[in-house]
């Protein structure tokens, strides 16, 4: 799991002023904000015009919204695992609960997009608070599995006994209402704006995406960012320096759950449907794969992971011959990452760019490898 926000060791060899400045800038909040806004604005456009993609999706841009939503989910999940070191195999509990809360509120109480999304987030936080009381007394593996058990419990609960409320596999429908009573989310743009982001729904989700990225960035830059990492690295030491580790874990769990719930709400709003599948363990498993595959502990990692996942599920799946193997490929890649490349795809990209910046070190490395020196890397941390 790689760290972020850390000034990389500046070797004497490469002291180009521009690279140093770049290293500093890319961690600032302003830059991250610009990048994420830029990403949102250009993503839809580029994605639907990319080769292979365009053949399969044929202009369908709903996938881009789904990718943004799952990026939010993965970012929230990463806050718990990548930052704080707690693995939960039950994040579907947040995703699915928020999904239902959103739908139920819209049907029985009041239907306005921002309101019901907020309700969804609050419901996720509520379920998180209850679950935390059970989970936080458990050791790491127990924590992961009992989280899964809670998720499964909620799933089966929603499937049968509560079917009257949840309508089981048929699900609950959410009807479209204007945002804040004014803005039509289905409004399609024409011309260049249309090319960029098609409709208001995309902007709505995109805005939340940027908000979540900035929120998480701020958390990472706060004392909490440091404390979460300390808990991950050495929980005992963290408590012995005087930190109330339980409470910090509690907050991490709620923050992570709230963001996951946000994703669930947004998906419900977007698809106008809440179904019981969103509580199933495969949802939890999917987000684990995304976050790990993309790269734990970073901002870009979970986003890349979500992208790669849906690329495989949405695009590769549609290809002839290769199509059936999409999930197998993802599973194998995931296993490989856990086994030998713990920094994930983003980690591989960053270490590659790091090496390319220092050609002398790279050349030396290539020489030693060719000479037959086996690099016995540590299982964790590796090189950066």
């Amino acid at each position: 799991m790689s760290t972020d926000n850390v000034q990389p060791d500046v070797e004497d060899e490469s002291s180009l002023l521009s690279l140093d400045t770049w290293d500093r800038i890319k961690h600032t909040e302003r830059f991250i904000f610009l990048i994420s806004v830029g990403f949102v604005l250009t993503f839809s456009y580029l994605f639907s015009r990319a080769p292979v993609v365009s053949d399969v999706t044929q202009g369908y841009h709903g996938l881009t919204i789904t990718i943004l939503i799952w990026s939010i989910f993965a970012l929230g999940f990463n806050l718990l695992l990548g930052q704080t070191g707690l693995l939960s195999f039950g994040h579907a509990m947040f995703f699915g609960t928020a999904s239902y809360a959103t739908a139920l509120f819209s049907i029985h109480v009041f239907n306005e997009p921002l309101t019901i999304v907020l309700v969804g987030v609050l419901s996720a936080i509520a379920i998180g608070a209850v679950a935390a009381l059970i989970l936080l007394r458990l050791h790491t593996v127990y924590f992961a599995i009992v989280a899964l058990a809670i998720g499964q419990f909620l799933y089966f609960l929603a499937s049968s006994p509560l079917e009257g409320i949840t309508k089981g596999i048929n699900g609950l429908t959410v009807s479209r209402t204007p945002l804040l009573g004014l803005i039509d989310l289905d409004h399609r743009y024409s011309g260049i704006l249309g090319e960029l982001f098609v409709n208001n729904s995309y902007l709505f989700v995109g805005a939340f995406f940027v908000a979540v990225v900035m929120f998480i960035t701020r958390i990472r830059k706060s004392p909490y960012g440091l404390i979460f990492k300390a808990i991950r690295e050495n929980e005992t030491r963290a408590s012995f320096v005087g930190l109330d580790v339980w409470r910090y874990k509690f907050v991490a769990f709620l923050l992570s759950g709230g963001i996951a719930g946000l994703a669930g709400s947004l998906l419900t709003l977007n698809k106008q449907l809440a179904i019981v599948d969103r509580l199933y363990w495969s949802i939890s498993g999917d987000v684990v794969v995304m976050a790990v595959l993309g790269g734990l502990g970073t901002l870009a990692g979970p986003v890349i992971g979500a992208f790669v996942w849906f690329y495989f599920q949405g695009i590769v799946n549609g290809l002839p011959t290769l199509g059936d193997y999409w999930l197998l490929m993802l599973a194998v890649s995931f296993t490989a990452v856990v086994w030998a490349y713990p920094d994930g795809i983003w980690g591989m990209i960053t270490s590659l760019t790091q090496e390319l910046r220092e050609p002398k070190t790279l050349a030396a490395k290539v020489k030693t490898r060719v000479a037959g020196g086996s690099s016995a890397e540590e299982s964790d941390g590796g090189e950066r």
Binding site: V6, S222, P223, Y224, L226, A230, V241, G242, G381
Partner: protein
Amino acid sequence: MALLETNELTKEFGGLTALQDVDIAVEEGELVSLIGPNGAGKSTLINTITGRLTPTQGTVTYAGTDLVGMEPFEIAQIGVGRTFQTASILPELTVRENVQVAAFAAEHGSFRINFLSRRDSFDEVQRLTDDILDTIELDDKAETEAASLPYGDKRRLEVAIGLATDPDLLFMDEPTAGMSPAETEMTVDLIKKLQSEWGITIFLVEHDMDIVFNISDRIFTLHQGELIAKGTPDEIRDHPAVREAYLGGEEQ
């Protein structure tokens, strides 16, 4: 009133008695050492006092407060710090970040809702961190990843973390273990400085008898869970029970 007092402190693990009726008192400003052969129960004693273990019987009083039943983080917050035998650092964080974590705990308490504030906006924490790094002389390595430090520096970082919790009483569990003579000397100087300049009461667990007899105000000797001797270095040097425990007099 002694700063730290234990009374009939006993710790049993099932059938095994690790500590038996240990009575010690540490005065403020002292530097006391705890010695004893391997397995005597030294680490158990520290763990029991600092909250990692719960005593089977007996009391631990610090500045008038009963420590038994308190969580380790609470004990740390009231001024009892410790360093660990194996360098218990945060590997993937930088040296500065390692110290900073402890500094935050010292300045902000055990918990604070401030996840929307940038951490470099807290001047008092930065100052404490810089002070510590300067004292331990790790400021030139502040941005290095802790995992890549040489062993001796890791041990010093361990001390730095313990120091950054702003303790009045600091337990140091074999701080010089595995260090070179030069590093050992540096560490001993540091410990003396902590006592004289920083006014910290030091509770040292050490195997190196030269150090122990050189810098301690008083020495406690533990053997098979029992306190067999306590007194000044001179008193301990000639103590028959101590000699016996170590099979042939004081050795280094």
